[in-house]
């Protein structure tokens, strides 16, 4: 990447700064830069945490230890100069039972896409996804890399309860439920891979930059 996008900075209180580099569509290049900047910013004295989002990054710091203006300066400098590390992540394999009672929206998603169920499964399981960010709920992975043909707007009314391990699609994003919680995303299958365990450190099975592949165990009617 020769031209580096100029990010927008804003504050979330005195002790957090949000860097937003998002354009109209999600960019993998920008996201690589986000991860690299996050790692570098964590080494700055007074910076407590970094929270990579989708083409954006929040820096949390103690404003009595480092003035916000200095965080902004360093952030912009690192943003311009950092060299993203292309091979930072690990490969994570997620075995999935598609369809059936634990993948109740698979047929509807195939209808929406104008594809057969088999074709949906093939496309979903052949893509290599990248963990863009972990957040919202503990261990929830925002995955980029979904085949655009499989994108489907979220449900108008979210389900109050989507089971842990549900393999889901919401808009152009793919995900996996790390715990049982409400969600408006479509459920196409289920995995037994645990994604979050508060008794482990780190507690989340996946980190930003990891690559995820869904592997077909079975496709149920």
């Amino acid at each position: 990447m020769t031209d580096v996008v100029s990010p927008r900075l804003s504050s979330e209180g005195a002790g957090a700064i949000l860097l937003d580099a998002a354009g109209p569509v999600f960019s993998d290049d920008i996201q690589s830069r986000i991860w690299a900047v996050a790692a570098r910013m964590l080494k700055v004295d007074g910076v407590a945490e970094t929270v990579p989002g989708m083409n954006n990054l929040m820096i949390v710091f103690d404003p009595l230890a480092i003035p916000p203006g200095e965080v902004e300066q360093q952030l912009l400098h690192i943003w311009q100069t950092v060299v993203p590390d292309a091979v930072a992540g690990r490969d994570v394999d997620i075995p999935v039972v598609y369809g059936g009672p634990d993948g109740e929206d698979l047929a509807a998603l195939a209808d929406h896409a104008g594809l057969t169920v088999e074709e949906v499964v093939r496309r979903h399981s052949q893509a290599v996804y990248s963990v863009a960010a972990v957040g919202a709920m503990p261990g929830f992975v925002y995955l980029s890399g979904l085949d655009p043909a499989l994108a489907m707007p979220r449900r108008a009314v979210p389900r109050m309860k989507v089971e842990i391990g549900s393999v889901i699609i919401g808009g152009a994003q793919a995900g996996i439920m790390p715990c049982t919680a409400p969600s408006g995303w479509h459920i196409i299958g289920k995995t037994k891979v645990p994604l979050f365990d508060s008794l482990r450190d780190p507690p989340s099975a996946c980190k930003p930059g990891d690559r995820i592949r869904f592997r077909v165990i079975e496709v149920q009617a």
Partner: protein, 325 residues
């Protein structure tokens, strides 16, 4: 050991919160009125971050099974140790068998109880706070129930021998409580989408006395007032949010994120309540009114510095008091 005699399930074990795991989706949690916990801990001779109990549902009663130094802080609520009055912001010794009762607050919403030694629950991801939403940390990952028995950590501190105990004057830090019909003033900094709201929406945001609806808990408060409109439709990617972030979902009614906020969100953000004023939100009950007053970063930092200085001075004074008895 203490035994819970009456409680509601929203009352929970909290310390100053969990840090370092936002990027795993794990939120802060922690005492909503963090300065109150710090002060109560310092009074009983603890480190400021020892775990205590947050009481948001009253009446709350517990029995001490051994002589224990404790302090009640935060909301101004009628408190009794058996028949003795318990002043707020005051360290005193309970004798084994005595029952502490906290009644409905006269002002404020959340009381904090600190115990010498601190509540001894396991550290989970570096904190003893209960994450009620995600069901881990604190006491078995849940709010307190009647009959729960909580251990206090061993401490080398001596039992307070000063008859009647001692307390802290917090008026310089917290000011007078807002009168019942007065809005609670919160200082805010503009956040990312502030300028995308219409001029009218921005004026209304600052001029309205916003009502805290029933939909208010440790995750956040939903407010009710005039609709706040954007000049154009925004579709934001998910991004980090903080306790104090004021979001405006498509219905135009603001939500303030609090201790158990999700780590990421996608709604437009109009402002952030400054860190030093978050305790005021903790003490704002359902039905109270809030006013958002624009401030500057410099002021936000200055007020935070004043809080830290107050805590440092109190820590020194509390150490002296302990030396005397």
């Amino acid at each position: 050991m203490i035994e819970i005699l009456s409680t509601g399930a929203v009352n929970s074990v909290q310390d100053l919160g969990r840090t370092g795991y936002l990027d795993a989706g794990v939120g802060r949690s922690g005492m909503m009125d963090a300065p109150a916990l710090e002060i109560a801990n310092l009074l009983v001779g603890n480190d400021k971050g020892a775990a205590g109990i947050e009481v948001a549902l009253f009446p709350f009663r517990l029995r001490f099974e051994a002589d224990t130094v404790f302090a009640v802080a935060g909301a101004d609520c009628p408190a009794k140790l058996d028949d003795r009055q318990v002043p707020g912001w005051w360290a005193m010794t309970a004798k084994a068998g005595e029952v502490l009762t906290l009644g409905l607050p006269r002002s404020g919403a959340r009381a904090v109880i600190a115990f010498q030694g601190g509540i001894d629950v396991p550290l989970v991801l570096g904190s003893r706070s209960t994450d009620l939403k995600s069901v881990f940390g604190g006491f078995e990952g849940r709010g307190l129930n009647r009959g729960d028995r909580l251990s206090l950590a061993e401490t080398s501190r001596r039992v307070l021998r000063m008859e009647g105990g001692y307390g802290a004057d917090v008026s310089a830090l917290r000011g007078p409580a807002a009168a019942k019909d007065e809005a609670i003033v919160l200082r805010v900094l503009p956040s990312a989408e502030y300028a995308v709201f219409t001029g009218e929406a921005r004026s209304k945001f600052h001029e309205t006395d916003w009502l805290i609806t029933n939909d208010a808990n440790r995750m956040g408060y939903r407010l009710s007032g005039p609709d706040l409109a954007l000049t154009r439709k925004l579709e934001l990617f998910s991004h980090g949010i903080m306790p104090g972030t004021v979001q405006v979902p498509p219905n135009g009614q603001p939500i303030i994120q609090l201790a158990e906020a999700n780590t990421c969100g996608g709604y437009p953000k109009i402002a952030n309540v400054i860190e030093a004023d978050l305790w005021r939100l903790a003490q704002a009950p359902v039905g109270a009114r809030l006013r958002f007053e624009a401030t500057t970063r410099d002021t936000a930092i200055e007020v935070l510095q004043q809080q830290r200085t107050f805590m440092a001075e109190l820590a020194a004074a509390a150490a002296l008091m302990r030396g005397w008895n």
